[in-house]
């Protein structure tokens, strides 16, 4: 039998044969594994989880800003109440208290709250009876210190008022908000815990998806493994898929989350409440929000990489 020489020389000089069969010029044809996608709704699961993290992170940041803003506003504020049923005497003692307070070191501003303002504040609770004079209303004096009101400052003010205005009650305004601060702090920890749990859930979802994807491609992986593919080459194929799918989920999730945050922000802004106005976002907060989808993609890649590496270690 006349058998032509096998093609064991170096690559041929002519392109004639290559031109007939040159599909590999398309890099997609060089894929080692089929362009599989994560089974089922994994990108959408990632999107939902990322959206939840964005909302939780935004909530936590808003609460932090709120607490910081409220604390800054009130930390130097002290309220003095002059409790005296006789209106004339109350007015006189109020004026005395203002005089004493103004003379104290460390006091930046003193304001006797006008009675009309007090009546307006109480009217929602007491009705028209607040203005009748039947209910004695203490005189209120807002004092702003030049620094945060420490317990020593409160004691010093109380002592200064003791002789001139007996029975005056001195309170740091921030004391009234301590339970609110504690609640805000608890909510921040809750948001942090939620973020951690959702990060774990994301990792678990990616772990399952990567395991399934690997199991589905195991035969092909074994073949290319035996042909000399390194773990890095095989992992890279899976990680490309993970990157694509996680990036899709992250972008969609971040979009949904930011939309929800903006919507909630508008709702709270409409309240026009002094308490909620301090929760607004600056550049730093938006950068943190922007980092959420990136962190999600990184978690997905890291999880997939570890999962594939462990699966490959089972092969020789």
């Amino acid at each position: 039998m006349n058998t032509p020489s096998p093609p064991l020389s170096d690559a041929p000089e002519t392109d004639s044969a290559a031109d007939v069969v040159a599909p590999a010029r398309n890099r997609a044809a060089a894929r080692l594994l089929p362009a599989t996608r994560f089974a089922g709704p994994i990108p959408w699961v990632i999107a939902i989880l990322i959206a939840l993290v964005v909302i939780a992170a935004a909530g936590g940041l808003a609460l932090k800003n709120l607490a910081t803003s409220a604390s800054a506003d009130l930390s130097a504020a002290v309220t003095v109440q002059v409790i005296e049923p006789n209106p004339d005497l109350r007015a006189a003692r109020g004026a005395d208290a203002v005089r004493v307070l103004t003379a104290l070191d460390g006091v930046r501003a003193v304001r006797l709250v006008p009675e009309a303002e007090l009546v307006a504040l109480l009217e929602p609770w007491l009705g028209e009876g607040a203005a009748s004079g039947d209910v004695p209303i203490p005189a209120l004096i807002d004092v702003e210190l030049s620094r945060s009101a420490a317990p020593d400052d409160i004691a010093r003010i109380a002592a200064a008022l003791e002789q001139t205005v007996p029975g005056a009650r001195v309170d740091a305004q921030s004391d009234w908000l301590q339970p609110v601060y504690r609640a805000l702090s608890a909510l921040q920890w809750l948001a942090l815990g939620l973020i951690a749990l959702v990060a774990l859930a994301t990792a678990a979802a990616v772990w399952l998806a990567a395991r399934n994807a690997f199991a589905g491609a195991r035969d092909t992986v074994e073949i290319i493994h035996l042909l000399g593919a390194t773990d890095r080459q095989i992992s890279a194929v899976f990680l490309r898929t993970v990157l694509r799918e996680a990036a899709f989920g992250a972008v969609v999730g971040a979009g949904l989350g930011v939309a929800a945050v903006l919507l909630l922000g508008q709702q709270f802004a409409a309240l026009d409440s002094g308490l909620t106005s301090g929760g607004g976002f600056g550049l730093a907060e938006w950068l943190v929000i922007a980092a959420v989808p990136l962190a999600g993609v990184l978690i997905a890649l890291l999880t997939a990489r570890i999962t594939i590496a462990l699966a490959l270690k089972d092969m020789l």
């Binding site: 039998m1 058998t3 032509p4 020489s5 096998p6 093609p7 064991l8 690559a11 041929p12 392109d15 044969a17 290559a18 031109d19 007939v20 069969v21 040159a22 599909p23 590999a24 010029r25 044809a29 060089a30 894929r31 080692l32 594994l33 089929p34 035969d219 092909t220 074994e222 073949i223 290319i224 493994h225 035996l226 042909l227 000399g228 593919a229 390194t230 773990d231 080459q233 270690k313 020789l316």
Partner: protein, 245 residues
Amino acid sequence: MNDRLAGHVKFDNVGLRYGTDPEVLSNLSFTLYPGSFYFLTGASGAGKTSLLKLLYLAQRPSRGAIRMFGQDLITMPRERLPDLRRRLGVVFQNFRLVPHLTAFDNVALPLRLAGADEKRVVKAVAEMLDWVGLTHRAHAIPATLSGGEQQRVAIARAVIARPQMLIADEPTGNVDPEMALKLLRLFEALNNRVGTTVVVATHDVHLLKKVPDSLIMRLNKGQLSDPTGALRYPPRPSVAGDSGA
């Protein structure tokens, strides 16, 4: 001792068992020398495929020692195995083509895994496909190829990177006699011109006569016999394959 004298592959008292089953290979001690052409024969179930799995690094032995290309396979970390695998060409018993890749891309795999330049890949694969008569099927995926065509793709993939050792499990089982002879000539050419060590597992006794300088290893119930004396009296290093045939 240089590689040629030491041999490509040295088995020393190797045994293999799957799980807790009895050993399928027992007390295998032999050396495969560079540039030699070996036929591995034996009845079905004799352990040919298991022995080939040890040779193409799909399995570690349960006991004994194996050295390949001068390196100890038993203690070698798995990260270094791909380098050794790239020096091998393997024709698997059931072809094991990658199902989603075309014939062209299957043949190109070893070159691409080794990072070969794509222009060189295209030329080399095109020529190899032309030689095995599958140019017109270059774009076909394995599921649309006949058994013989798949086998030719598998063989083309095994030899495309001109391996130092070619391991073939029943490589001519699904092709007509003319193609079988042609493929055997390819193996011989690799053996003679490139110096590739060839190990072919086959049932076909007629095939043994087609390669006069070949050496025969016979497996029987996991034990190796040496009908040509190749294992006891290996070929002289200077002229591989000239003894024992």
